[in-house]
């Protein structure tokens, strides 16, 4: 191949024919910012970040679309190009929620809040699941200034959840086009494209319909290639970046595709195709349902053996001994069901057992169920003619199971039939266990174990091989021959209507409910989400979305309304299985019997509450709790500064009202990341003599936060109360605003359970003393709180919190 040299920023760079200027620079280790460029996709030139100057070339070409030529002289980073890039980025960012990128506190914040807040809408980087490893952030950070001060645009209607598996937030889209370009590369005809133009332009299918209704196959390549948080995997997005990506084999259907599994902390947190070739493209099962299935809540973990009437946890040894004994006692009246999709080793052992004990052997398909068993076997089952049976998977009903004297069930999920089992063997599946399967062309495919199986889970092949060894059976001659894929087989990767409904007899939609949107059925006895809306007794009168992620919830709770005082809170639960979480009482009316809360969506529990609508009922509204703010501390005519951020903007409202009624001069200082996140301005203005607004991106009021307001004006005040996130209160406290001897308070919101001082979960350190925020607080001396400890305690359950997220998002609880 012909090589030549060109000059980039004074460096002589070698390039080969066909390379672009960007590729030549990259190869030489020179950095040119770019977003839409992708090594495996054709040049596109959409983002215009990679603009350069080339001697003898008019204008400012994009280096990703300009072929490198011998002797070219390229300048990438002149003052004019830097300015051009900054302008381009500002235009791009005016329609992308980007306040975090220009916030003066972003470095401290990244340390304080290492994990993004698990909000429903990504209104800023700090609430975006894509923050870890975000390419957009990487490309524009440091180059973004709000020079021209364009108005910030955020449209809540651009957040779309109308499709299975994929969350779409078009606010975050920068129209780099990678998604539909990768779609076109893989599938030839793209299922998505840019519809409309100008500010209405968006990635969509025809007529902006749900993708599930159209040509999209849900291979998820677009989600993988999206450089922003616009397209995300609803289930897996909060886990962050994987520790490693390992190639494996997907065993969910007979095609046995190669699959790359994303592993973090020993768990599969997602999957993707091994390449962008069409032949490697995955179906929705492999791409999205795989991780949901292997992490299903109802996985079996313990092995059980029946003693008397009880199923008792058993050791590996006991399990094998009991199995041997059951088969020996079966008296030729045994049944073995092991799917033809199981590993060869398990099938060989099962066949050896069947032969040796003259048992009926059935090898149903992975996506079959009890109805697919041969009629004579079904007949014997219903007449109770089997003395013993070994069933791998969900292939017999509870009714038939009850008629088998000695039943052994091996499975990875809980089923009805298991209560009749004498032995329950929890199995490792997919990437948890190693074994052999048929490849597409009849070759043998070895699947290795990639993650360790927890609890008593083991591959069925291991358990059965051990059993055969004890019984002196040679399994090798029963090993199934590798088979070519049936010519009639329709690949789910090419046709979404061919996605199998079941795996080992289990209905997949029960465990990955989004599959139902692709037309897959739930199991006939699946209870679905019926249990989610338990009837509590606290009716929601109104649920008003103030700004994205923030809701004003008006609830009928006469007892709470009757006793509420400013500064108090209540503990709320959406349903009987919800976590208990505290929320400040914002407003109340004893005569009408209602209370108001500001619900900020920061995780599963708050999202659950926020998803309720008028007429729904909360399971618990327990309150008022906590010590009200001591109004005696604030003398008539004195000047008090109230500083609120996030939910604190609402939380200072009842305090402002109470102080105003006492004749105190109130100034309310509020901060938000951007103009589109400010709320309660009119409400606060009713009681505050003065309202000071700061936004972190300077889109409204002065740029900055409450820390700046406090530093600037606090010395003029007699007292200060700060309410908001730990980070904001800590920042305000660091300014030691008023000096010794003055009243300066903050309201703390740690993890709480009962809210009455019993559990101790809400423990905080104030001036070296341990206090309970629920009864001693929530108000404490701002300058004496140990915020570092508080911050740590608040994140104590972060892994569990992440795990809980996907099980709720989309309004569905995953099993």
């Amino acid at each position: 191949m012909e090589t030549f040299t060109l000059n980039i920023d004074g460096v002589v760079v070698e390039a080969t024919q066909g390379m672009t200027v960007l590729q030549a620079a990259k190869k030489a280790g020179l950095f040119i910012p770019s977003l839409c460029a992708h090594d495996e996709l054709d040049p596109y030139g959409a983002c215009r970040l990679c603009v350069v100057e080339i001697d003898g070339v008019r204008g400012t070409p994009t280096s990703c679309t300009t072929p490198a030529a011998p002797g070219m002289v390229v300048r990438t980073n002149t003052e004019q190009r830097q300015l051009q890039r900054r302008r381009t980025i500002e235009l791009m960012m005016s329609g992308h929620p980007s306040p975090c990128l220009v916030c003066d506190s972003r470095q401290d914040c990244a340390i304080e809040k290492a994990q993004p807040t698990r909000a429903t809408s990504a209104t800023r980087c700090g609430a975006c699941s894509n923050r870890p490893g975000c390419e957009l952030r990487g490309a524009v950070l440091g180059n973004y200034e709000r020079d021209i001060g364009l108005p910030m645009i955020y449209d809540p209607a651009k957040v779309e959840r109308n499709d299975p598996f994929i969350d779409k937030d078009h606010n975050l889209c920068v129209l780099c086009g990678r998604c539909f370009r990768v779609c076109e590369k893989i599938h030839d005809k793209p299922a998505i494209a840019i519809a409309n133009r100008g500010k209405k332009a968006k990635i969509s299918s025809e007529f902006e319909k749900a993708w599930s209704a159209e040509e999209c196959l849900f291979c998820g390549a677009c989600v993988e290639e999206c450089p922003t948080g616009c397209l995300t995997d609803r289930w897996g997005k909060w886990f962050g970046l994987p520790d490693k990506v390992v190639e494996s084999v997907c065993a969910l259907c007979p095609k046995h595709c190669k699959i790359s599994l994303k592993i973090k902390d020993g768990f599969v947190i997602g999957a993707k195709s091994v390449s962008l070739k069409k032949s490697d493209s995955l179906c929705a099962l492999g791409k999205f349902a795989y991780a949901q299935l292997i992490n299903a809540r109802s996985r079996l973990t313990r092995a059980y053996v029946r003693r008397g009437k009880e199923q008792i946890p058993a050791s590996k040894q006991e399990l094998i001994e009991r199995l041997a004994e059951i088969f020996k006692s079966a008296d030729s009246k045994a049944l073995i069901i092991v799917s033809n999709g199981a590993y060869f080793e398990a099938r060989a052992a099962a066949r050896a057992l069947a032969e040796s004990f003259k048992a009926d052997m059935v090898e149903p398909g992975l996506d079959a169920g009890e109805e697919s068993l041969p009629p004579e076997v079904l007949g014997k089952l219903s007449r109770g003619e089997y003395k013993a049976a070994l069933v791998f998977g969900n292939y017999i009903s509870g009714e038939n199971a009850s008629k088998i004297d000695r039943l052994v069930i091996a499975d990875f999920l809980k089923t009805d039939a298991q209560k009749y089992a004498e032995v329950i063997i929890p199995t490792a599946i997919l990437a948890e266990s190693a074994g052999t399967l048929s490849g597409e062309n009849g070759e043998e495919k070895l699947c290795s174990s990639i993650i360790s199986a927890s609890g008593d889970r083991r591959g069925l092949s291991e358990t059965l091989s051990e059993l055969c060894q004890i019984l002196g059976l040679d399994t090798s001659k029963y090993r199934p021959a590798s088979e070519k894929l049936d010519a009639a087989f329709r690949s789910p990767a090419a046709d979404k209507s061919a996605i199998p409904a079941r795996f080992m007899g289990h209905y997949l939609a029960d465990y990955a409910p989004d599959l139902a949107q692709l037309g897959l059925p739930f199991s006939p006895n699946e209870l679905g989400n019926a249990g989610d809306k338990d009837a509590g007794s606290y009716e929601i009168i109104e649920n008003k979305t103030l700004v994205p992620n923030f809701h004003e919830l008006k609830v009928r709770a006469p007892e709470v309304a009757k006793f509420a005082k400013p500064g108090q809170f209540a503990i709320l639960m959406a349903n009987s299985r919800s976590e208990r979480s505290p929320f400040t009482i914002i407003d109340w009316n004893a005569d009408e019997g209602w209370v108001k809360f500001i619900i900020e969506e920061v995780g599963r529990s708050s999202a659950e509450i926020a998803s309720l609508s008028k007429g729904d009922k909360l399971w618990v509204v327990s309150g008022p709790l906590g010590t009200p703010v001591n109004l005696e501390l604030f003398a008539e005519g004195s000047k008090v500064l109230l500083a609120g951020g996030c939910y604190g903007i609402g939380a200072i409202y009842p305090i402002a009202r109470a102080l105003k009624e006492r004749g105190v001069k109130v100034t309310a200082a509020i901060e938000a990341s951007s103009a589109y996140m400010l709320y309660y301005r009119d409400e606060l203005s009713k009681y505050a003599d003065n309202l000071i607004i700061r936004t972190r991106d300077g889109s409204l009021g002065k740029k900055g936060g409450n820390l700046d307001t406090v530093a600037e004006i606090a010395s003029e005040y007699d007292a200060l109360i700060a309410v908001g996130c730990v980070f904001m209160m800590k920042q305000v406290a660091s300014k030691t605003p008023l000096g010794e001897g003055k009243v300066q308070l903050c309201a703390l919101n740690p993890i709480m359970v009962d809210g009455t001082g019993m559990c101790g979960a809400c423990r905080v350190s104030v001036a070296g003393e341990t206090k309970f925020a629920c009864v001693d607080g929530p108000f404490f001396d701002l300058c004496k709180v140990d915020f570092v400890e508080l911050g740590k305690r608040r994140t104590a359950y972060k892994l569990l919190e992440i795990e809980a997220m996907p099980r709720h998002i989309g309004g569905k609880c995953h099993r």
Partner: protein, 171 residues
């Protein structure tokens, strides 16, 4: 109730399959005037709109099939242009001029009055399908400002009284 969910899912799946299979050939005459090359897409869509007054889902599907591109791709091209419509237009079309001269002489009030009387916004069609309301950048009849066009007929120096009379006459 679960049987219900189950049945719904099956129904949805069947419906999807049916949708993919049904293939009407209403636009073959128009399409076959053109070579099946991407560059003729816009021309073909113009002809279809000429015939139907808008581009239906079926029209986009059939054209995409003819030109060998995906539906999303075809929609991407035509949705770029303001001239293409994706909803059946009303029986009567009112176009209000928003050019400089008309603007100065009160076309804003005229448009607002139309929106109020018809109960729709510009770009929409009344629910009964009778009237579509559109705005145009300039009719080139500045001397007649404020002007509007109803079904191709120019109405000059519009007043609200005139407007009500015209609306009454539309059936």
């Amino acid at each position: 109730m679960h049987g219900n969910v189950y049945l719904k899912a099956i129904f949805k799946r069947n419906a999807l399959e049916k949708l993919n299979m049904s293939e009407s050939k209403n636009y073959r005459d128009i399409l076959e005037k053109y070579e099946a090359k991407r560059e003729y897409l816009v021309s073909a869509f113009q002809d279809i709109q000429e015939k139907d007054g808008y581009l239906s889902e079926n029209a986009v599907k059939e054209s995409a099939d003819y030109f060998g591109i995906s539906k999303a791709d075809a929609y991407s091209v035509v949705s770029f242009y303001a001239q293409f419509k994706f909803r059946r237009p009303g029986k009567h079309i009112i176009r209000v001029c928003k050019g400089t001269a008309c603007h100065v002489r009160g076309s804003g009030t005229l448009l607002a009055a139309l929106e109020e009387r018809l109960g729709i916004k510009e770009g929409e069609t009344t629910p009964d399908g009778l009237i579509s309301l559109e705005r145009v950048a300039c009719l080139g009849a500045c001397a007649l400002a404020p002007a509007m066009v109803v079904d191709g007929k120019v109405h000059a120096r519009m007043t609200l009284a005139q407007l009500d009379k015209i609306l009454k006459g539309l059936q």
